[in-house]
């Protein structure tokens, strides 16, 4: 697409536009910038998504991406406690919502600010992109903070079961370990290793900046140019992840037994990469199975009092993922009974497919979800963040069109293709009676 006159801004190449969102690249260092002006409220969201997540880790430093994310708040050249400009203080004192999250494929830092303070958010993110302190004296106390975050996760039977299902389904690929990492890696990873991680991945050419909300596009782009163009591109190419998961050659099962009150069943099947065309049919399938009271599993399991809730884990990732149906059992209900119902329903779809009405209902539900993902600057930035993570931000803007193309035939085809017993990993959380 040729740049139009209104897309010409000093220092940038215009790349493309989709659904009102414009993509630019900062010529100086290949920083990708997504911009959407929206003057509905006096608010702007600024987000930096780094293309690094727990998939870029290996044995010995699992959880490093997340621990590094914590250390990124400990101070940088211009924003630190010594200068009385600590990041949290600078931003929370103006009423900003500020945080960061880490997941399999990405790490994102964001600020939702009163629009007159957008420049402050830009300055902070630019500064810590290449000038974060990452001191060992900061890692020590932050390690115990993160370890407590890990411990809190371990308190939850669901979190423990989910970790075990992924670890069983993925043996070679780094999706094997959860983003929080293994406890011993959190405790022992060195500051040097974290710095090395930062110096490998935290570069403008490995990041996408998103700015949404109440601002003047020209001024916002000028501000991003002003603060980020001091950084060069990475001197070395960003190392790719080349580990493929070997083919699974049979069903896998795991059990987690702990003191608890109620059981959980989780049934996982391997799914394709997020950008694969089959993703859209799987998203529609997820709605047909468990979204709303008319969904199949709701009628078969919840309405019969066999489980208190059902949760579908169907997030698209950069690499292959998992489609997991979780059922939180009613006290006294046998895991086997619920597992059988879920598998039977998959088999029913393999044999008989889904109805046109079911597909249309699911598409309507997704249409509304997509519309609400435009409700607020943070909502847009957050949805874009996940699309950026899987490799193409237009996944977000084209999502509804692609969902509209998911037919009954396509859904039957993907269930037949992916929901095979040999590709399954089934996990049970067994609640043990407390010791007297």
């Amino acid at each position: 697409m040729c740049p139009k006159n209104n897309n010409k801004f000093t220092g940038y190449d215009f790349i493309k536009e989709s659904a009102g969102i414009e993509e630019y690249v900062l010529v100086e260092n290949s920083l990708r910038v997504l911009v959407l002006e929206d003057h509905s409220a006096p608010v702007a969201t600024f987000m930096v998504t780094y293309h690094v997540g727990s998939r870029n880790e290996a044995i010995g430093y699992t959880g490093s991406t997340h621990l590094l994310e914590h250390l990124m708040f400990k101070g940088s050249r211009n924003f630190n406690k010594d200068k009385n400009t600590a990041i949290w203080t600078e931003l929370q004192n103006i009423g900003a919502q500020i945080n960061a999250t880490t997941w399999n494929d990405r790490t994102n830092y964001f600020e939702v600010v009163p629009s007159e303070h957008l420049e402050r958010a830009i300055a902070i993110e630019a500064d810590r992109m290449r000038h974060a302190f990452l001191k060992d004296e900061d890692r020590q106390p932050e390690m115990t903070v993160v370890r407590n975050e890990f411990e809190r996760g371990e308190n939850s039977p669901f979190d423990v079961l989910d970790k075990n299902i992924w670890a069983t389904a993925y043996q070679a690929h780094p999706y094997h370990h959860s983003t929080i990492g293994w406890r011993s890696d959190i405790e022992n990873v060195s500051t040097e290793r974290l710095k090395n991680f930062y110096d490998t991945y935290y570069w403008p050419n490995n990041a996408t900046v998103t700015v949404i909300g109440d601002f003047n596009k020209k001024e916002a782009l000028a501000s991003i140019n002003k603060y980020f163009s001091e950084h060069s591109k990475s001197k070395e190419p960003i190392p790719p992840v080349y580990t493929d998961e070997p083919e699974q050659e049979g069903p896998r099962r795991i059990m987690v037994k702990r003191t608890g009150q109620t059981g959980i069943v989780g049934i996982a099947h391997k799914t394709p990469k997020g950008l694969h065309e089959d993703t859209y049919a799987l998203q529609v399938l997820s709605k047909i199975l468990a979204d709303g009271k008319t969904s199949r599993l709701n009628k078969l399991i919840i309405d019969k009092g066999l489980a208190t809730s059902i949760f579908m884990y169907d997030f698209p990732f950069l690499d292959n993922g998992l489609f997991i149906t979780y059922a939180f059992l009613t006290p006294g209900i046998d895991h086997k009974e619920v597992e059988k119902i879920i598998i039977n329903e998959y088999n029913n779809i393999t044999e008989s497919g889904v109805s046109k009405e079911e597909v249309e209902r699911a598409q309507a539900q997704i249409r509304a979800t997509v519309a609400f993902s435009r409700d607020g600057t943070y909502a847009v930035a957050s949805a874009l963040n996940e699309a950026i993570a899987i490799g193409d931000w237009t996944f977000y803007t084209n999502f509804m069109d692609n969902i509209s193309n998911a037919t009954e035939e396509k859904i039957k085809e993907v269930v037949k293709k992916y929901f095979t017993e040999d590709q399954s990993t089934t996990g049970w959380f067994i609640a043990k009676e407390p010791k007297v």
Partner: protein
């Protein structure tokens, strides 16, 4: 920036229903949040779970439609209607595309006015709610919080909490007859407040509501005068043992003897915010950021609405083997805060935070409707939302430090911890 009073259209055409509509720039979507009086406080002397069961049964069928017909109407257009009940209110929220507003409003009215309350559906719901409650026995935070409030307040106080087992028993005991009786007594015109925001026109929404609710009868539900007071603060501690938990939860605090209308409320709220209201507050900056003892710690004032005297609590999560150290570090900060007070610089920063947060909260339609409805439920004029930043700005340092001295006593803190301890 426009003010709320400039942008929100208020209507009281239907007696007993007050609507607040705020059209925004967002395309296609509409969020509706509403409430009416009818919460667990209105079950006083009876089964306290009836109000929440009534709310949860509203989507299980009406006189004319079964639950699948209702769900089908909503799900086929991607809309949602949710009902819940709190201490004082029954709440409803709706999310839909603008073209489906009529469907959602007519269903909302039908579900509120003519619920079916079938025995079979109630029985399934009771099993599901009981299962969720029993699962809470694994939740160390919830266990600590329940015990903390049971110690601070007497049984008939709005802030008192039933044990999980008591709640399960109440849920199981409720009958369809109880539900119909509660519905008949409290569901009706009178106290309904509805806030809507997004791609919505006030005339259109009000017209739909007028049509849908015109035949509904008036009910005289009021918030009963709260006569019970908190138990006098006393020093003490309790430990709840839960097996196989890698993290423990802690509550420390006390009752404060004042409600939201007291002159010290805002100064005290600001003081507590400086202690533990956000990440840049003292507790997170010291116990987490400097000492690395916790993933999360915070402090707040709660339970002060509708005339109830509330409480101040500090919550934190700790590894069981450093809980003692964490308690010590938390108490050090509380003592320092009490002894030396807060500084002018801290107060000024928090005032800016609150003013900025006010703008940021306008980022989404659900943020807007929640703010407008909550203000209306408190019986406040819409203008109050515009004046709130000025009220906060006018609070002086001495007012904050005096309020801390008046309502906090570090010698009489109560502490509950739960975990594998």
């Amino acid at each position: 920036m426009g003010t709320f009073s400039d942008q929100v259209i208020i209507n009281e055409e239907i007696k007993g229903v007050k609507t607040y509509v705020m059209p925004t720039g967002v395309k296609d979507v509409v969020t509706i949040s509403g409430s009416m009086l009818g919460g667990s406080i209105h079950c006083a002397g009876k089964n306290s779970k009836v109000s929440s069961l009534v709310a949860s049964m509203l989507d299980k069928g009406t006189e004319k439609k079964n639950k699948y017909e209702i769900s089908d109407m909503l799900e086929s257009v991607g809309a949602e209607l949710n009902f819940s009940s709190t201490r004082y209110h029954t709440h409803f929220t709706g999310f839909c595309l603008k073209n489906n507003l009529e469907t959602v409003v007519s269903l909302l009215a039908e579900q509120l006015t003519t619920p079916r309350f079938s025995t079979e559906e109630l029985s399934t719901l009771q099993g599901r709610i009981s299962g969720n409650l029993i699962r809470d026995k694994e939740n160390t935070k919830k266990l600590a919080m329940i015990q903390f409030l049971r110690t601070l307040f007497p049984r008939n106080h709005p802030n008192y909490q039933a044990t999980i087992d008591e709640s399960v028993e109440s849920v199981k005991k409720a009958s369809v007859k109880d539900l119909f009786a509660f519905h008949k007594e409290h569901y009706g015109l009178g106290s309904i407040k509805i806030a809507a925001a997004g791609d919505v026109k006030a005339e259109a929404l009000n017209g739909l509501l007028l049509e849908a609710m015109k035949d509904w009868k008036n009910k005289k539900t009021n918030i009963p005068k709260i006569t019970e007071k908190a138990i006098k603060p006393k020093k003490g501690s309790q430990t709840i043992k839960v097996q196989d938990k890698t993290s423990a939860d802690l509550y420390i605090g006390q009752s404060i003897g004042i409600n939201r209308e007291h002159k010290d409320y805002y100064p005290l709220m600001l003081g507590v915010y400086i202690l533990g209201g956000n990440f840049s507050a003292r507790l997170m900056q010291t116990v987490r950021d400097k000492q690395g003892l916790t993933y999360g710690i915070g402090s707040s004032i709660s339970g002060v609405s509708f005339g109830a005297d509330g409480y101040w609590s500090t919550w934190g999560t700790f590894s069981p083997d450093i809980l003692k150290k964490g308690v010590g570090a938390t108490k050090d900060q509380i003592n320092l805060w009490f002894d030396k007070g807060v500084t002018e610089e801290e107060l000024s920063a928090k005032k800016t935070t609150i003013n900025g947060s006010y703008k940021v909260s306008m980022d989404s339609t659900s943020g807007l409707t929640s703010k407008i409805l909550s203000n209306a439920e408190q019986g406040r004029d819409l203008l109050y939302l515009d004046e709130y930043p000025k009220i906060i700005d006018a609070i002086s340092l001495s007012e904050v430090n005096t309020a801390i001295k008046n309502h906090v006593d570090p010698e009489k803190l109560y502490m509950v911890s739960a975990g594998t301890l």
